[in-house]
């Protein structure tokens, strides 16, 4: 086999995938950036080049900065809660001797449900009069009937709780798989040295988990910034925009007010934010070298 033959074979094998990606991924990326520089309202046949005007409008729009704040809050709180709960669950699973397969299967259940299903499940759980939440609340406080998704103070925490429920198992599973790979001798040595449970966790388990936690942090942060289904079903961004994330804001500008140009500008901002986060993570953890 010649080097030239290898090079030709490489392009033959790559060509189908790269042609498809060129049409459905690369071209749309270029096109969305071009669209973001236009004022474009298809139903009125408007398509004018306006430069950075859409971005200038975004920078002055209070709703955009509100969505930015909601996205940041949603991402930080839900990812932090998921990491802490996920590690705790993984440590508990690792200590389990019998029935681990059942535990793993049960944990996978929330994770593999379609986001729309999770939304429908929690919409019902949060129902003001018949929902599970308020039935439990009624046991404790007879007269209280909080409107979980309608009260501006409760809506974001309620959406975050649903997201944490859905994705904690992913982190638990990832961390558990890493824990399984740690040789028992490591812990035996720690026990011989007289390390207690707390010391073992902080000094041995957590440092061993560092790489897998960084990966989980990246995946979950990206997913949280991209989240759409849950808010769309549960609140639609309301009440009064307190759960409107950047993705909902962008989608609303694109398809509810049908301003393709302006909507594309907000879509570009979301895309750039996510890709910058991924790039920053790769650079910081040195995984770029793995590429």
């Amino acid at each position: 086999m010649t080097a030239r033959g290898d090079r030709r074979l490489a392009w033959v094998l790559l060509a189908p995938a790269l042609s498809v990606l060129a049409v459905v991924t690369v071209y749309p990326i270029v096109r969305v950036i071009a669209l973001s520089l236009e004022r474009r309202v298809p139903i009125f046949g408007i398509a004018d080049f306006v430069g950075l005007a859409n971005y200038a409008f975004l920078a002055r729009d209070g709703a955009f900065w509100g969505a930015m704040r909601v996205t940041a809050l949603f991402t930080v709180v839900s990812v932090a809660a998921e990491l802490v709960l996920g590690v705790a669950a993984a440590v508990a699973l690792r200590a389990q001797r019998r029935g681990v397969a059942i535990s793993l299967s049960l944990l996978l259940l929330p994770w593999c449900l379609p986001g729309v299903v999770t939304g429908r499940i929690f919409e019902w759980i949060y129902h003001p009069s018949a929902g599970l939440m308020n039935r439990l609340v009624a046991v404790v406080v007879a007269s209280a009937q909080p409107n979980w998704l309608g009260d501006p103070r409760l809506a974001l925490p309620a959406v975050i709780a649903a997201d944490v429920w859905r994705t904690t198992p992913f982190i638990a599973l990832l961390v558990y798989a890493r824990l399984v790979g740690v040789p028992a001798a490591v812990y035996e040595a720690a026990a011989v040295d007289g390390a207690g449970r707390g010391a073992t966790f902080w000094r041995i388990t957590l440092p061993l988990l560092r790489p897998v936690l960084l990966v989980a942090l990246l995946f979950r942060t990206l997913d949280a910034v991209r989240a759409f289904d849950l808010m769309f079903i549960l609140t639609g961004g309301g009440p009064a925009g307190v759960t409107e994330t950047l993705t909902l804001y962008a989608y609303r500008s694109l398809f509810q007010t049908l301003q393709l140009g302006f909507g594309s500008a907000s879509a570009v901002v979301v895309g750039a934010l996510v890709v910058a986060l991924a790039w920053g993570h790769l650079a910081a953890t040195g995984e770029r070298d793995a590429v």
Binding site: R7, P28, V291
Partner: protein
């Protein structure tokens, strides 16, 4: 040891409690009144009959099966050869390609949904399976390629070289030597693609307009209620829409864990 038995029971109890929201929805779907508190009074399949008999759900489930299967096959067929080239053959600009592929796995669907919408409209594909398949592939393919590149790199090169020395042609060596070893990895990548395509909502919601192409998540999001919300029917529809991903994940759990860990842990 009694104490470990107790610990096992506690963990099992904990994960069971964790599944409460699903159990609550299941109980809602199985009671005639749609009130899970009545579940002890007797189970009823009335909501399932209503959903399967007189709602858009059966058609939506069929659409979802077709679309998710097509995306899974398409992504695997395109990703496997490309990944082999990127992992094993001399490719000019390989690093740049791989960085581009990794970064496009991070891309949110909302970022390119507008141009995809214009493409779909220009090709006259609105409200067809093909529109959803194309859009899903745009997001599933980069991840598949990236995962499979990782799996191929784990396989020792000597395996194919030995086959080549034995006189097998390169493609024959790939098919008979590499492919069997790679199969679990391909299964893991395909499982993740299937889950993505089945669960995807934003793209399917945008490109579909009628029952002709609406997927199960879209039909569930738009589930009709005339005067009041039919919680029992919605619960039954949610269970039906969840069944394929749940069954696939339970059947292929081992591959799934491998897929989740792959391409991400370089230690």
């Amino acid at each position: 040891m009694r104490s470990s038995g107790l610990a096992d029971a506690l963990v099992l109890g904990g994960v069971t409690l964790y599944a409460t929201p699903v159990v609550w929805q299941l109980a809602t779907s199985l009671t005639a009144s749609g009130d899970p508190a009545d579940v002890m009074a007797g189970l009823s399949l009335a909501h399932y009959r209503a959903v399967l008999g007189a709602s858009p759900m059966p058609r939506a489930l069929a659409n979802s099966v077709g679309i998710a299967a097509a995306v899974t096959l398409l992504a695997a067929a395109l990703a496997a050869p490309a990944a082999y080239a990127l992992a094993r053959l001399p490719v000019a600009g390989r690093r740049l390609l791989l960085v581009g592929i990794v970064l496009s796995t991070a891309l949110p669907t909302v970022a390119t949904v507008a141009p995809l919408y214009l493409i779909v409209r220009a090709l006259g594909l609105r409200d067809t399976w093909l529109a959803v398949i194309l859009a899903d592939t745009s997001f599933a393919l980069p991840l598949s390629i990236w995962l499979v590149v990782g799996f191929i790199r784990e396989i020792p090169r000597e395996l194919e070289e030995a086959a080549a020395v034995d006189g097998a042609g390169r493609l024959a060596a790939l098919r008979h030597v590499l492919l069997p070893v790679l199969a679990p990895g391909l299964a893991a990548a395909s499982l993740l693609t299937f889950l993505f395509a089945w669960n995807e909502f934003l793209l399917a919601y945008t490109f579909t307009a009628t029952e002709a192409s609406r997927t199960a998540p879209v039909a569930l999001a738009l589930f009709p209620g005339v005067f009041e919300t039919p919680w029992g029917d919605i619960a039954a529809a949610s269970m039906l829409a969840s069944l394929p991903p749940v069954l696939v994940v339970l059947a292929l759990r081992r591959h799934l864990v491998r897929g989740l860990l792959a391409g991400s842990l370089k230690e």
